[in-house]
Amino acid sequence: MTGGAIAIRQRSIIPGFGLSLGVMLSYLGLIVIIPLCVLLLKASDAGWAKIWMELSSLRTLAAFRVSFGIAFLAAAFNAVFGFIVAWVLVRYEFLGRRLIDAMIDLPFALPTAVAGISLTQIYAENGWLGAALATGGIKVAFTPLGILVALAFVGLPFVVRTVQPVLQDFDRETEEAGALLGASRWNIVRRVVFPPLVPAVMTGFTLAFARGIGEYGSVIFIAGNMPGYSEIVPLLIVIKLEQFDYPGATVIASLMLVASFVLLLAINLLQAWTRRQQGG
């Protein structure tokens, strides 16, 4: 709370509304709004028959199944392990904790193409881990499992980074109260600590999921790219562009755009929920 100055509450005392809003809107308009509108317009130009044909084709449906399905699994995987990592980083002290904390953002900072070739090198049948897995009959690279590995990599920081601040600000007194009342540690964690963290975990999950469905660079090297089996939606869009099938590409891209928008709204709502939990 700032003490002091006698604040005469005049809303318009701060200048620059017109300029800042103007800059913001023109920039957004030129770079984001107009291009995306053109996309939607071109898609609708294709006509209902083509739109239906495109969206109902087996190949498109399979690609959506692959992209959304595997992104969901990867995000779930990251929710579990991300939670553990966040817990360990916040609650425990151990050698190298700060260093490891800094490294969590690596998947975020590393270019996707680098992640792609690196992961492929690890999980290919003659690769660093792939060789061992192959003797056990498990093929990772060039199968949907490879896509899962890649999406799990790029989504790793999201849950950790959404849970950490909530966990850090967590009021330990409730835990102490629970302990005083005789609850076991497991019950305390399950019923006192975990519930307020759920919004944060879900926010992280949704962020990882949204990232996963659109991911391109890290996936195309390690995926088999086989239609109907290991072909992701962004790759399908690129293939259609290379065939200059603009109607097909725009229709599929528009559907992805709508999905991204919906996920964004979900994320905003979840973040608001998280803030309410923290404040409340």
Partner: protein
């Protein structure tokens, strides 16, 4: 009062209890969780890093330097740097303007605007490149006009820059908006009442206050600009030595079976990623310190 009472109670209970209160997990559980977390992180983070450098040096140091010194590799580095140097300042200006508009004023539709700013972040980068092909490609909306005036955007460097501009647009704004929201308008109002004009307020009051958040945003924006792949792949035309950024050049090398060379270029990008992480940690440390200091006032 309540705090004092309960902690005294806790202390006395602990002193006289036959077993300690479960305020944290058992040592066994703790060790197990740490082991799981570290094992997981080792596998998912450390291993890829090791692999990049190991593969880059597979054919020896001489090969490594040769790969990086190739004119096409240097051209890729130049293009990547040019893109970052263009895109980051532009998005910084946008970020400050957007944060100013949203956090210093009240008006309807803020949520919609914030969603629009976030949109490039959640949309697939392939779509980010594709929309500009639809706009500026010869078959696109402005195609004929651009061709008539001999302006090349798609399949040329401007296309690469615009596509990168799209995908990196949110980064600075996303850092500044919550930060400036938290800071409120008191400082600016005080400055204005003391006679400063708008620009003086911006440069002498606001910017210093958001210094660390701004630098943070610039860092993230820069990292993404350097590493962008999907959006640029769609617009570039793959002219090696001209419109291939470093990530695209990696793909070119990889697809021509030059694996060691691809990893050599990848190692450069990895080093940049490292630098980004270190700078980020430093900024976080400084920002915490800054915030702690400001609370004392």
């Amino acid at each position: 009062m309540v705090d004092h009472a309960s902690s005294t109670l806790t202390a006395s209970l602990q002193g006289s209890a036959r077993r300690p209160l479960p305020l944290t997990e058992s040592a066994g559980t703790r060790t197990a969780l740490i082991a799981i977390a570290l094992g997981f992180l080792l596998l998912s983070l450390l291993l890829p890093l090791i692999v990049v450098f190991a593969e880059a040096l597979r054919l020896g140091f001489g090969s490594y330097w040769a790969a990086i010194g190739e004119p096409e590799a240097l051209a890729a580095v130049r293009l990547t740097m040019l893109t970052a140097l263009t895109v980051v300042p532009l998005n910084a200006i946008f970020g400050v303007a957007a944060a100013w508009a949203i956090t210093k004023f009240q008006f309807a539709g803020k949520n919609l605007l914030i969603t629009l700013v976030d949109l490039p972040f959640s949309v697939s980068p392939v779509i980010g490149g594709m929309v500009f092909v639809l706009l500026f490609g010869l078959q696109g909306v402005f195609g004929p006009w651009l061709a008539a005036h001999d302006i090349k955007i798609i399949f040329a460097i401007p296309g690469v820059i615009i596509a990168t501009l799209f995908v990196t647009l949110p980064f600075v704004a996303r850092e500044l908006i919550p930060l400036m929201q938290k800071q409120g308008t008191e400082y600016e109002e005080a400055a204005l009442m003391l006679g400063a004009n708008g620009w003086q307020t911006l440069f002498r009051v606001t910017l210093p206050n958001i210094k660390w958040g701004l630098l943070y945003g610039l860092l993230l924006c820069n990292g993404r600009a350097i590493g962008e792949f999907g959006a640029v792949a769609v617009v570039s035309g793959h002219i090696v030595g001209l419109t291939t950024t470093m990530p695209l050049y990696i793909e070119v090398l990889y697809n021509d079976f030059n694996f060691a060379a691809a990893f050599a270029v990848a190692s450069l990008l990895t080093l940049i990623a490292f630098a980004t992480l270190i700078l980020r940690a430093i900024l976080e440390w400084r920002a915490d310190w800054q915030l702690a200091r400001s609370r004392l006032h």
